[in-house]
């Protein structure tokens, strides 16, 4: 099949920063892009961050122009609430089945005024906010999420559970709520495929020593990212579950590294970034970072680390053996490399878990016929050489789906995959 120039069609799976960058480049070359995203919003993990290292840029502000550009690009079809169900064929001629779940809100009519949200009587935990706040059964995950069109969560919506509620439809001035929408099965023909499904954090419930979910003041780093976020559950106010600001914080690195068997590349920097953010917001806060080896490779990162250390953040090379609660405070027992044991009392603990391949990676890998290697990440064809190519010609992988990495390395891989896709079949 001819798959060149204007006729080129590409499937991109995952609309995080890698998928967005790749789609825009592909579309600008004249290719037709189908961008499949399983969530009702796009932007991936990056939009959860208030600021990103090392320049402490606002992540949403950084990525929103790209998202807007993508939404307005006529060569890109963004398929939200969608998942790839089957892939057949070979390079130049893949047939892909995609299941697109109904949003029940018309994308054209909705103007994103949120009147429907206010009217909905159902409240459930907001998973985007790590359960730190509630959302309605018709919802957008957070302020500023794109596309700015709510979706109905049928698991919790009264109407989809046999009740006669149409509150959202009554509240909508634009006839955008459409309960009759149905899931769609799409069949796409594409010449190449890019897997950009990203990461999920290591499951902290597999640990016991840190008291996660047992003690109120032990948080995961993503939870703290949301607490720091101006569009998050506390509007950026750094407060604990008891409503008080923390006066001392322990950040524990490398949670899950031993279980995973690899270093997740970015946690040293993201932990240091959280320390910097907390220090900026709460100048009096005392912060201690518990780490084993600092992995801050490349330009600019060392300078960032030194600045944070000099702002009064303690870096303690030690293994945390146990966390216990004593009144409102937490006790961190730790052991340094020379075997000495010590204790630190803090009001908050932040756990920095490793990065793992996103959920559903196993199913997707099997569907695509790509093996998974170290840590369950998608395997490249030639390890240590070409990291975006897979053993299946025409199928490429970019970003954290291939292995843990930071934003510039993710973007570079996305652009590299575009290089490979656009030079295909010539």
């Amino acid at each position: 099949m001819e798959n060149k120039g204007e006729d080129r069609r590409v499937l991109v799976i995952g609309a995080g920063i890698a998928g967005i960058e790749a789609s825009l480049l592909l579309a600008n070359s004249g290719a037709r892009v189908y961008l499949v995203e399983k969530n009702c919003y796009f932007g991936g993990n990056v939009i959860k961050f208030e600021q990103v290292f090392p320049n402490m840029e606002c992540a949403t502000c950084m990525i929103a122009p790209k998202q807007q550009e993508l939404l307005q690009n006529e060569n890109i079809e963004l398929l939200t609430l969608s998942q790839v169900e089957a892939v057949e064929g070979s390079v130049g001629d893949f047939t892909v089945k995609v299941k697109k779940r109904a949003r029940y809100v018309d994308m054209q009519n909705c103007i994103g005024c949120n009147a429907c949200l206010e009217s909905c009587p159902v409240e459930v935990d907001n998973e985007f906010e790590e359960g730190l706040t509630k959302r309605k059964a018709i919802y957008i995950p957070c302020a500023g999420a794109l596309p700015n069109v709510p979706a109905i969560d049928t698991q919790n919506c009264l109407r989809f559970n046999g009740k006669d509620c149409q509150a959202c439809q009554e509240a909508c001035m634009f006839e955008a709520i459409d309960y009759a929408q149905e899931d769609e099965e799409l069949e796409l023909n594409v010449g190449g495929i890019l897997v950009a499904t990203g990461f999920k954090p290591f499951d902290l419930s597999k640990t016991t020593q840190y008291g996660y979910k047992k003690f109120d003041n032990v948080y995961s780093d993503i939870e703290v990212e949301r607490i720091c976020a101006s569009n998050g559950p506390t509007q950026g106010q750094i407060v604990l579950r008891n409503g008080k600001a923390p006066e001392s914080v322990a950040i524990i690195h490398c949670v899950g590294r031993e279980e995973e068997g690899y270093c997740s590349s970015v946690c040293c920097m993201s932990s240091t970034k959280l320390a910097r953010f907390l220090k900026d917001k709460l100048p009096e806060v005392k912060i201690s970072q518990f780490y084993s080896d600092l992995s801050i490779p490349g330009r600019a990162y060392q300078r960032f680390y030194i600045e944070v250390r000099e702002s009064g953040v303690d870096f303690i090379r030690a293994t945390v053996t146990e966390v216990s609660e004593s009144g409102e405070r937490l006790r961190v027992n730790y052991k340094t490399e020379d075997g000495k044991e010590n204790t630190l009392s803090v009001s908050m603990i932040i756990l920095s878990p490793g990065l793992e391949p996103a959920v559903d990676s196993l199913e997707l890998a099997e569907m695509l016929g790509i093996p998974r290697g170290d840590g369950g990440f998608f395997s490249e064809k030639e390890p240590d050489l070409d990291s975006v190519d897979t053993i299946r010609e025409g199928i490429f992988v970019a970003g954290c789906a291939q292995g843990p990495k930071d934003i510039p390395d993710t973007v570079a891989q996305a652009e590299a995959a575009v290089g490979r896709l656009l030079s295909l079949s010539r």
Partner: protein, 565 residues
């Protein structure tokens, strides 16, 4: 011709209508000078709304348009297209965001109306000074100049060469392959680097439209994205070649920091202190020792210390790959000298990524001694080399070894800096060329159409280097399509010949290198192909000569006066 300004207020369903007293707004705006028509509409962005707008523009013969509605981020493009359809120049439109900036943030309907009136008045006042602007296109050359024939340059060329795109791969030495061809083993598979290069060069020869220019130096690059002119000279030959290309990839690699500047390591003074690249060379079967690891006296070493992070403090950054290649060295030593005692003196083990921990653990299991060390010094003992260090708890340690391998920091090659200067790319605090955007544009430089990849861009391993080469290729394949013209920014800067004093301040601040100096007329000149209309020059110009089209003094002044009045 008299101006006829149309003002349309969008109710945005109930979003604006419920929170702003629109009738009061219309009443206040209608009598203003040059306002031909003021109307409200339910939802201007709907299909019916756009049609209404189009007809209304024609019917009232409007010359300028003010839309009080939502954020221009949401619908400016939509309405610019409507203008186009109604034969009104789209740059004669000004949007006023009375939804996000007014309706949604002001609780009192009358206060909101007052604010909206002020905003609309300002827009009317500004749009009156807008001029029609036209989209421009430029012919471009799709060919690419790749500077540096290492693995990065080779890989980029492979992707870019095609029947309709010529690639010039310029290498200053006599053969392609860069540093990698001098590595006998590559981590983690421990395959040969020279064999890899041989394979890649072979596939390069089979590829289309790639011209290798070895023994050649790029002497000058002029021009801009889509239309560069490069002058290339071949060593030992008279005459130069002028190449026309649309984009440039800088893949000039790295140098090691010279450890002679750090006397504590004894390099250059003690016989058996080597740099990592010297150790690589020692292992090459084609090298002086035939691949044997030997001391200067011809004996094999019984003990070796590998010292990490040499020059890290001075450089101010971690060189990213040294920990892993030091593990590789330990394996090379162990496979040739199974009884040798090998120590790694390191500060922090930096082995990021999914596969290196395993590589580390397997290497450690070979019996390698890992010592966390600081303040390391190397001196000569009577029999051996003494490596002294300080452990983390402050205690002192000492190792007597036969051989020391220093692992120095990586810095951009001298050529990188020369080319950065030639192309007008500033260097960052660490001495590497500044990227277009540190996070979102890692391989694009601050000069459009020039890409910096591989170790020229920052220390990295082979796979990361290849990724960057392919990334630059991806950006070029996406933007420089053979046969397609390049659409230029419309709202560019312009510099008035009359007012320019030739002080060159605009040239020094322009982030896109879009302004040059006309030596004949003694004035600064904007290259519209490069200008992004950011306005930094306009803000800097002391004589008011520089301004951005439709964002000049009259537009901004008139707008602000009405806002604060």
């Amino acid at each position: 011709m008299g101006k006829r300004i149309g003002v349309y207020v969008c109710e945005c369903g109930t979003n604006i209508a419920d929170n702003v007293n629109i009738d009061r707004v219309i009443e206040a705006v209608s009598p203003l000078r040059d306002v031909a028509i003021v109307e409200k509409y339910g939802l201007l962005c709907s299909e019916a709304g756009k049609e209404f707008l189009k007809q209304s523009i024609k019917e009232h013969d409007l010359t300028h348009l003010v839309l009080a509605a939502c954020s221009p981020k949401q619908h400016e493009m939509t309405f610019m297209n409507v203008c186009q359809e109604a034969s009104l120049n789209p740059y004669l439109l000004q949007m006023v965001n009375i939804r996000e900036q007014c309706a949604w943030v002001t609780s009192d309907k009358e206060e909101a109306a007052e604010k909206a009136i002020r905003q609309i008045r300002a827009a009317i006042s500004r749009v009156r000074w807008h001029v029609s602007l036209e989209k421009k296109e430029m012919d471009v050359c799709p060919d690419v100049l790749v500077i540096g024939g290492g693995i990065a340059g080779i890989k980029a060329s492979q992707l870019l060469g095609s029947p309709d795109r010529r690639v010039y791969l310029v290498e200053k030495s006599s053969s392609l392959g860069g540093k990698v061809k001098g590595f006998d083993k590559l981590f983690t598979a421990m395959d040969s680097g020279s064999a890899l290069i041989e394979k890649e060069v072979k596939s390069l020869l089979g590829a289309q439209n790639i011209e290798e220019l070895t023994d050649s130096e790029v002497e000058q690059i002029l021009g801009f994205f889509g239309n560069f002119e490069a002058r290339v000279a071949k060593k030992g030959e008279n005459g130069e070649r002028n190449l026309s290309v649309g984009a440039v990839i800088l893949a000039t690699g790295f140098d090691l920091m010279d450890p002679t500047g750090l006397p504590q390591y004894g390099y250059g003074k003690l016989d058996d202190v080597y740099t990592s690249l010297e150790f690589e060379q020692m292992n090459m079967p084609s090298g002086p020792s035939g691949g044997k690891i030997l001391l200067k006296n011809g004996k094999t070493p019984e003990s070796v210390a590998i010292i990490h992070c040499v020059g890290r403090e001075e450089k101010g950054y971690c060189s990213r790959v040294c920990c892993v290649y030091s593990l590789k060295f330990a394996r090379m030593l162990k496979s040739q000298l199974p009884d040798a005692k090998i120590s790694q003196l390191y500060s922090d083990l930096c082995i990021p990524g999914k596969s290196y921990q395993k590589f580390y653990e397997e290497t450690k299991d070979l019996g390698i001694n890992f010592v966390r060390a600081a303040k390391t010094t190397v001196t000569q003992n009577t029999k051996a080399v003494a490596v002294k260090y300080e452990a983390e708890n402050g205690s002192k340690g000492e190792l007597a070894v036969d051989m020391v391998i220093l692992v120095p920091a990586m810095e951009p090659s001298g050529d990188t800096n020369r080319f950065a200067e030639m192309l007008g790319i500033p260097l960052d605090e660490e001495g590497f060329p500044v990227a277009e955007h540190r996070l979102l544009g890692p391989v694009a430089s601050s000069v459009e159409g020039v890409f910096v990849v591989g170790c020229a861009q920052g220390p990295k391993n082979i796979s990361e280097t290849i990724v960057q080469s392919e990334a630059a290729a991806g950006k070029i394949l996406s933007s420089l399509v053979p046969g397609r013209k390049l659409e230029l920014e419309v709202r560019t800067s312009e510099i008035s010949e009359t007012f320019c004093t030739g002080c060159k301040m605009c040239i020094s601040v322009c982030p896109y290198s879009a302004i040059s100096f006309d030596e004949v007329r003694r004035i600064a000149v904007v290259n519209e192909a490069l200008c992004h209309g950011c306005g930094v020059c306009a803000a800097t110009c002391p004589s008011g000569a520089a301004s951005v089209k439709n964002f000049g003094f009259p537009q901004i002044y008139q707008e602000v006066v009405e806002l604060v009045r």
